[in-house]
Amino acid sequence: EGWCLSEEEFEIWNQRYRLKESDQIQEIIFPQGRFASLQDEKEIPQQNPRAGTRELSLFEWRVWQNRPFPTHLVDHSERCYHFISIMETIELMRHEEGECSYDLEIKPYLQMEDVT
């Protein structure tokens, strides 16, 4: 159908890119995201990764996410900068004990008639 690999391409793939049984990592998967607040209609059972499978993680390096990583041709989006600023706020709060600086900072502005 014109979309699949030609013989030659298949050989290159098989030799250069394909993960094999002999490799330490034989498979890389990106786990299905789940919406915590909404019950997924097609609830995917959380299968345990097989030996030799490497699951990509979005939170393994969460403590690194409070600063923008370098980009190439595509700049960071607004929502990415929002994410980074939230991660920075979390990072700052991580070191707090007891009182929360965010509370202390914002509480003076609370007018109860705004919320009741």
């Binding site: 979309w3 990509l56 393994e60 390096w61 990583f69 370098p70 041709l73």
Partner: protein
């Protein structure tokens, strides 16, 4: 290197409810270009991370570090 139009069409049809849904040439070319930009950005950011760690081999963990922000940028 680039994504073949027919390959992009197959990928899109994985998600279409109707098999008969047709996608003409231009949207396929646009989608192929999008995927190419996405892959090159992922690869280039992985390279930047490996270089920042002073290693010459880009490994999974370099891709994983840049992954959250990459996905938010696309």
């Amino acid at each position: 290197a680039a994504f073949k139009k027919e390959l992009v069409s197959q990928l899109l049809h994985l998600h279409f409810k109707e098999d008969k849904t047709k996608v003409s040439g231009d949207p396929l070319l646009l989608m192929a270009e999008f995927l190419k930009i996405f892959v090159r950005e992922a690869a280039a950011r992985g390279v930047r991370q490996a270089q920042a760690e002073d290693v010459s081999d880009v490994d999974v963990e370099h891709v994983e570090k840049v992954l959250p922000q990459l996905l938010l940028d696309f």
